[in-house]
Structures are given as structure tokens and as C-alpha cells.
């Protein structure tokens, strides 16, 4: 699936992703500033999160609860230098316990991530336009 969109359409894009993703663990690929965190914020909104969601670059992982008590873990592996560090964070524990897992910068730790994931690649088409491709691997 490929979608081209601008920022004002992001909530519709989020609804579309939730309807299209067959896996609950989603990897977000794309350059810095392309809008990975912004898209994940829209996904969290679409899942009913009303509290402020912020970037987990520093905290590595943020946790949110949906109205029906589902758990969302939002990871950002940007600061990871050695892939092994994700084992020390307890990644496996999070993967087993989250209802939705959103992961930014997965390329930094790919060998420790599950294979059954939905991959989302975001590309900058122009200053306003982005396109994303969604590929289910489960």
C-alpha cells in the first residue's frame, strides 16, 4: 500500500494504517524530520490516547494506555549505539506485553526485532508532501 499525504491529512492516514496493518508491531523508517513521531502521535490519537504524547528519543520508550486499557509502547532507537543495548532495556519484555508497539529508527537494532512486523517507510516528496509505503510481514 502506498499513500501520499500532507500534514493536514495525517489523522486520516493514521486511521488508514490502523485498518491496514495486520501486525501489532510497527516499524517506522525515514530520515530525521520526515515526520515519524508526528505520524505515531496521530496513530496514538486514533487509538484514543488523549494525554500529551511526546518524543521518546531521550527516554527511549514511552508508554500509553488506550481507553480500553490496551498498552502502547512507543520506542525510539535513535540514541542506541550498540544494538545489544536494547536487550539491557528489556525490549523482549515490552514486545511481549504491548498491545501496540511503534518503533522509530528500527534500522539501528534490526537483528533484535521480531520478523512478524508491519513496515512503514516514509519519504519526503516535497516540502509539504510525504508518501509512505506499508508492508505487512505477518
Amino acid at each position: 500500500m502506498k499513500i501520499t499525504y500532507n500534514l493536514s491529512q495525517i489523522d486520516d492516514v493514521a486511521q488508514n494504517i490502523i485498518a491496514s496493518a495486520t501486525c501489532s508491531q510497527l516499524l517506522f523508517f525515514g530520515d530525521m524530520g520526515v515526520g515519524k513521531t508526528t505520524l505515531i502521535k496521530a496513530l496514538s490519537r486514533a487509538l484514543g490516547i488523549s494525554e500529551p504524547t511526546s518524543s521518546p528519543t531521550f527516554s527511549l520508550v514511552n508508554e500509553y494506555r488506550t481507553p480500553d486499557d490496551g498498552i502502547i509502547f512507543h520506542f525510539d532507537f535513535y540514541r542506541i549505539e550498540q544494538p545489544e543495548e536494547v536487550l539491557d532495556i528489556g525490549l523482549e519484555h515490552y514486545l511481549e506485553n504491548g498491545d501496540w508497539i511503534f518503533m522509530e529508527w528500527p534500522e539501528k537494532v534490526l537483528k533484535y526485532l521480531p520478523e512478524q512486523v508491519t513496515e512503514i517507510h516514509i519519504i519526503q516528496e516535497s516540502e509539504e508532501k510525504r508518501s509512505l509505503t506499508l508492508q505487512n510481514k505477518c
Binding site: D31, M32, F58, V61, E84, E127
Partner: protein
Amino acid sequence: MSLKNDCFILAIESSCDDTSAAVLHNDKVLSNVVAGQAIHEQYGGVVPELASRAHQQHIVPVVAAALRQANIDKKQLNAIAFTSGPGLLGSLLVGTSFAKSLALGLNLPLIDVNHMQAHILAHFIDEEGYEKPSFPFLAMTISGGHTQIVRVDDYFEMTVIGETIDDAVGEAFDKSAKLLGLPYPGGPFIDKYAALGNPKAFPFTKPNVPKLNFSFSGLKTQIMYFVQRNTEAQSDFVNENLNDICASIQYTIINIILDKLKKAVKETGIKSIAIGGGVSANSGIRKAIKDGEAKWGWKTYIPKFEYTTDNAGMIGIVGYLKYQNLENKNSFVDQGVSAQSRLKI
């Protein structure tokens, strides 16, 4: 504040990257050890900075070093304070479990501390040359992971009145630096080059965020386009204009912060402003806040740098304040206490 209970407190902090232990005699910090500095040199070897497992390797030597530097025997301690949250669960668990075990072994009371409250109460550490704020005041915590304005009416009466809806200030600095090809984390480089450049050379627009909240991710995307556009026309554009670009970015970030602070002062009528968090080391921000004293009649407070970044000294001062029963409830917790990664102020 009149002193009720003379005490020695051991404090432990392990909420994110750094393991830290401190010993306080009342509101004076006798030692404040952060792993990654003295401990590295002493024990040698490379310890992965980010690993929560590193906390397990650090915690025993860090606590031993804090007691040794304070010249205090653990039998002299009156209580143990530890960070219970917010933070990375795996990291918090190390400090929490260690504090509980030590308290059980030494039969000492345990005091749980909120890391975000500690950033604010760090202003009450007794330190020569540093004045303590009086209530009420506005606390602004700015770091790699946090951007908050908090109304502080008493030691334990705090209300978050503004916070970031995306990136933290420190993250904005670090990621801007990365987009300019500077090493990560590059916030300090921006500060350094900004001092040599023209802050109005390249105008960036400020985000329009409601209330007292902050947003920095739009600035990051603006800088990305700015670099793309200009390097297409001139490949060495960034290097040729580095000082001016850094000065312009820093100027924009400072203005975003100042606008919200001014708005917070206007809405609350409180003109005392206390800054904390690692980004308070940024020289441009320090100057801008300080200038508010002459321009708008603010009274500003910036603590000693070692108490602004993640450190156990600030955990210890909260331990001390709770030991004095300033919280208006029993501040000691029992062995059932656990780490809470999502703890709010």
C-alpha cells in the same frame, strides 16, 4: 526553614542513563557521585552508556564512593532516598531494589522521590553563592528529555502548567546540530558557534502552540528544508555559514522559551523563575532569562550545574525535605514500594 530533624541521607538516582549516589547532611550535599566520571577512571574499561545493565555494574561502587567521599559510615545514615519514577523501568528497578535492600539491611526508613520534583527542589540545596527561591515560583525544567513549566506553591504543591507536545528542548538542540552535520549530542556545539554568529541572519518561524505548551519538531523540519534548499544551491553552505545558522537556531529556540515564560508570568502573576535541567547550561538561555530581571522585573534562579543534570544530590534534598515532614503526610514508604515509569509530578 527551622530545622527539626538533623539527618544524614543517602540518595540514589537511576532513572535514565546515569547511576548516581549522594550523601547529604540536612540540606548540604557532602558527596554527589555520577557514574561515568570518577567511577570509570577508577574501575577502567568501557561501560556502555545506555545500558540499564550498566546501572547494576555501577550501583555498588557509586554508593561506596559517595559514602567514602562524604566520610560517612553507613551506620550513621538516617534514611535512604531513591528515584521511584518517572524513567526507564529497567533502570529505575535497579535503584529501587538496591535502596530497598539496603534499607532493609540497615533497618532505615525509605523515602521515594519523584525525579521531576527533584529537578525543581534542587534549588533548595544549601550551596554558597546560590539563593533559594521563595514560594510561589515558576520552575522551568529543560533537558534532553523534558520541557516543563511548573507552578510551585510549596515544596510539594506543584502544578504542571505547560509542557512539550513533541520534542524536548535539548532534543531540539541535538537534532538541529545533527542536521547541520555536527556530532550527536550537539547542543553544546550550537551554543559555542552561536556566540560567534548573527542571530538574525536566517529567520525561522516559531510554532503557534496553544496555551503554555511547547513544540519543537516543526523547527527541526524547517531546518531540514533550509539545509536541503541551500546546499542544493551551494554545497558548502552549512560550513560557510555555520556560526550564523547556529546563532539563528539558538535565537529561535530561546524566543520560543521566552514567549511561553512571559505568558506564564502574565497568567500567574508570579515573577520568580527557577531554571533547572541540563539545558540550563546553555549560555544563550541563561543570558536571556537573566536579562528578564532588568527587562520585566523577574527574579531568576539557576542552580549550580552539577545539580541541574540527572544527579542524586537533587534526590537527596527531596529526601531531606520529606524527612522534615514538609509533605504533610507520612513520607516514608514500606518495602512494598515499586518503580513507576510513568509517574507524574
